[in-house]
Amino acid sequence: MIFSFLFSTIGGNIKKNMTDTTQQIREQIQQEKRKNVSLTARVAQKKVRLTRIQNILKEVQALL
């Protein structure tokens, strides 16, 4: 019983530690996902802006 308890406790701890790590990774994943979303949005926004300026540039260039 003692061993069983001991093992299960140790196993539990290891498992717990691993779960913690997994949890951390998951959290980091979530974080990176959020970053990904915001970065994607940012880049997309900038590209829209770029396209807009490019179009205006073309329009203005045509005046020359």
Binding site: I29, E32, I53
Partner: protein
């Protein structure tokens, strides 16, 4: 029971562990993928940034070109261009983009025009008015929205370039015919107007006027000889010379004939050319050219700058009169002009200032002209001592027009020790580059002769007192003359002035021997180059004296995470981007420091003999103040400065421009090659905030547009020149 766990539990445990591992691996894979994706996104973000900036700049340049081109278009062509331009200029987003960008533009003329257009598109657009048809003729109404517009936008901007002749109808119904003012002739001057065909008088156009375009035939029909009206040579001063005078002028002019009505340009050219050779001859030439009225002693019209200033005053009065809606009578105006000329040529400097004060109005070029008048030499900054004439003219003007205030003092104190007025004038000019006795410079020097606190104490003087300054300068020059002798020749007065009046304090050059050794045989640079040659070394030694080489701790070095710095060849070892200030780390990650780093490495390798100074961050090394986002044209922001001596700046500039544009911006100015960093290709100077110290800067500099904290250190010969300390 006791054994069972030994067999079963580990299995369960293994299974569990495997399970967790599997989850872990999957998660790790995903995390890795995400990190990579985000890294790519960051790169893409940066690249897009660059694209946006490059496109924005191109747009800006193109818009400028279009605005300039407008004056070359026919009415029909312009009608096509204007709506597009209007749409673009009035777009709020573009408006803000342009506002940001115009600050960075080198071409001030275009950027000012563009600024006007962005600030107030109506202002530009209104002047490009659509004509109204009246009895088969197309009439343009002049409607400047503001006085400022009236000052800045001329007929040249309104009329297509190909259309040269106009009939102007004033509000009171008077019709005048003229040809458009040649903007080249009135570079930077008031020029909303045209030249009257009958009198050759330049007439400003103002709100309420209407005009229509004439054909050349129509114009000539109104002209006396079937030719153009006289050029508005010098605006309102007609120099009329006799046949005899003309003959000697021709001789003085190298055999080239001069027209009966000698143009301002010709006078200026002649004066400039002759000035460099012989001051007295030029004065003679000027005197016999005569001009309007008696040009007495102390007359501002004595000098070329004075002539310009006079013209501006009349122009200003003329415009004021036209604005007031008085009926416009050319003959009356000419009469008035002559009266003013007579009065003005006998004014003292003070009266002259008072007159300008009465004319008033910040918008008037005349007001600015007064400033120019005293800063004539400053206008030729790039080649300050190029011909010598501008400086001499400025100094002569200064001495002439400030006879009451300065000349007596200069004569008294200078005369005692046999220093000429010109020498003292040059000394003052070389000190502050302005003759303002109340100036306080960033280098903590004060007054017309720029005395530092220490020197002022030494001489028991108040640097803001003209009397004290002149006296102390004469004393200083006298003591230097005793020590180093007269290093001079007549044509090199300014060199003598520099040596005599600047050789003091910690940067003193001792003895004539030393001085001659420095001035030496090879080359004899002018102006700032000369100054640097004499005092540069000593000043530098003084400047670096208290600088301690900075030893980076292993932690600091580790903290920078800069592992990919290639070794400099030679004795230059390390350049690092700071990571210990807000934004610095991000810059490093975004690679903002990289171009600078690469540039410095490349420069160190390419130009082994150049002396490098690293001036990092916006920083004024005269005051040890750190500037950030300064709303000036200063290139110290995020700047690196290269020392003046021994460097081939043109080559270095070309090298940098070729390899590192647009990350950096280069400018050769004031004896230095300035290299400003432009993170993402943008020069940062968005806020007019001056920070007292680097802590303050660090604390506050996290806002948008402030990214790009780069602290570049350059270690050379074991000495770290750290200008942040």
């Amino acid at each position: 029971m006791a054994e069972q766990p030994n067999t079963s539990t580990p299995n369960v445990f293994e299974a569990q562990t495997e399970n967790v591992k599997e989850i872990d691996n999957k998660a790790l894979e995903e995390l890795k993928r995400l990190l990579q994706a985000n890294e790519n996104l960051k790169q893409e973000d940066l690249l897009t940034n660059n694209d946006v900036n490059a496109t924005r700049k191109e747009l800006f340049d193109t818009l400028g070109s279009v605005l300039v081109k407008l004056s070359t278009l026919s009415s029909e062509e312009r009608a096509k261009v204007l709506p597009v331009l209007q749409k673009v200029l009035q777009d709020p987003e573009i408006k803000s983009e342009i506002k940001e960008m115009y600050k960075n533009m080198n071409n001030k003329a275009i950027s000012n025009l563009l600024k006007s257009a962005v600030d107030n598109p109506e202002m530009v657009l209104a002047t490009m008015t659509t004509p109204r048809e009246e009895e088969g003729e197309l009439w343009y109404d002049v409607k400047f929205p503001t006085d400022n517009a009236e000052d800045r936008i001329g007929l040249g901007n309104i009329l297509p370039y190909s259309e040269k002749f106009v009939m102007v109808e004033t509000a009171d119904g008077k019709a005048m015919v003229g040809h458009r003012n040649n903007s080249l002739m009135f570079k930077g001057e008031l020029r909303p107007g045209f030249v009257d065909v009958e009198t050759g008088q330049y007439i400003p156009i103002v709100n309420g006027d209407s005009f229509r375009v004439l054909t050349e035939e129509e114009y000539k029909a109104r002209s006396k000889n079937g030719e153009y009206a006289l050029k508005p040579t010098d605006g309102h001063l007609q120099f009329t010379v006799s046949a005899e005078e003309r003959a000697s002028l021709k001789e003085a002019n190298g055999g080239k004939d001069v027209s009966a009505d000698i143009s301002f340009d010709e006078v200026a050219k002649l004066a400039n050319r002759k000035y460099a050779e012989d001051l007295e001859t030029v004065e003679e030439v000027e005197d016999f050219l005569g001009g309007v009225g008696d040009r007495g002693e102390g007359s501002p019209t004595k000098s070329i700058e004075g002539v310009k200033a006079f013209r501006d005053i009349f122009n200003a009065l003329d415009i004021q009169s036209r604005r007031s809606g008085e009926p416009y009578n050319i003959e009356e105006r000419i009469q008035l002009q002559n009266e003013i000329a007579k009065k003005i040529t006998n004014l003292t400097g003070q009266e002259y200032e008072e007159l300008l004060g009465k004319i008033g109005g910040d918008y008037l070029t005349a007001r600015k002209s007064l400033i120019k008048f005293f800063k004539a030499a400053r206008m030729h900054e790039t080649n300050r001592f190029g011909s010598g004439s501008e400086v001499n003219t400025a100094i002569t003007s200064f001495l002439n027009t400030n006879a009451d205030k300065y000349a007596t003092l200069i004569n008294t104190f200078g005369g005692e020790k046999e220093f000429s007025n010109i020498l003292l004038g040059l000394s003052a000019h070389e000190s502050a580059h302005t003759f303002n006795p109340f100036i306080f410079s960033p280098s903590n020097c004060s007054g017309i002769f720029q005395f530092s606190g220490g020197t002022a104490k030494l001489f028991h003087m108040n640097p803001f007192s003209i009397e004290d300054s002149v006296r102390a300068t004469v004393e200083l020059m006298e003591s230097n003359r005793k020590e180093v002798g007269n290093y001079q020749s007549n044509s090199e007065d300014y060199k003598q002035a520099i040596i005599l009046s600047h050789n003091h304090g910690s940067t003193k050059v001792n003895g004539a021997g030393d001085l001659n050794a420095i001035i030496g045989s090879n080359g004899n640079p002018n102006g700032r180059g000369f100054y640097n040659k004499v005092f540069g070394e000593a000043q530098k030694a003084e400047r670096y004296k208290n600088m301690q080489p900075v030893q980076l701790t292993p932690e600091q070095i580790a903290g920078t995470k800069e592992v990919d710095v290639p070794k400099f060849s030679g004795d230059v070892e390390l350049l690092r981007a700071r990571s210990d200030i807000p934004g610095g780390e991000e810059d490093r990650i975004n690679g903002l420091a990289t171009p600078v780093k690469q540039m410095m490495i490349a420069l160190a390798n390419e130009f082994q003999t150049a002396r490098f100074i690293s001036a990092s961050r916006p920083h004024d090394y005269n005051t040890n103040k750190v500037y950030h986002g300064r709303e000036t044209n200063s290139d110290h922001q995020y700047g690196l400065a290269f020392d003046a001596v021994d460097a081939n700046f043109s080559q270095m500039k070309a090298f940098i421009d070729k390899n590192f544009s647009p990350h950096v911006y280069t400018l050769i100015h004031d004896g230095h090659l300035h290299v400003s960093l432009r993170p993402n290709g943008i020069k940062i100077k968005d806020r007019a905030i001056q920070y007292e110290n680097s802590d303050d800067l660090n604390r506050r500099s996290t806002g948008e547009g402030n990214q790009g904290h780069i602290d570049a250190y350059l270690i050379r010969k074991g000495l770290m020149l750290n200008f942040d300390k």
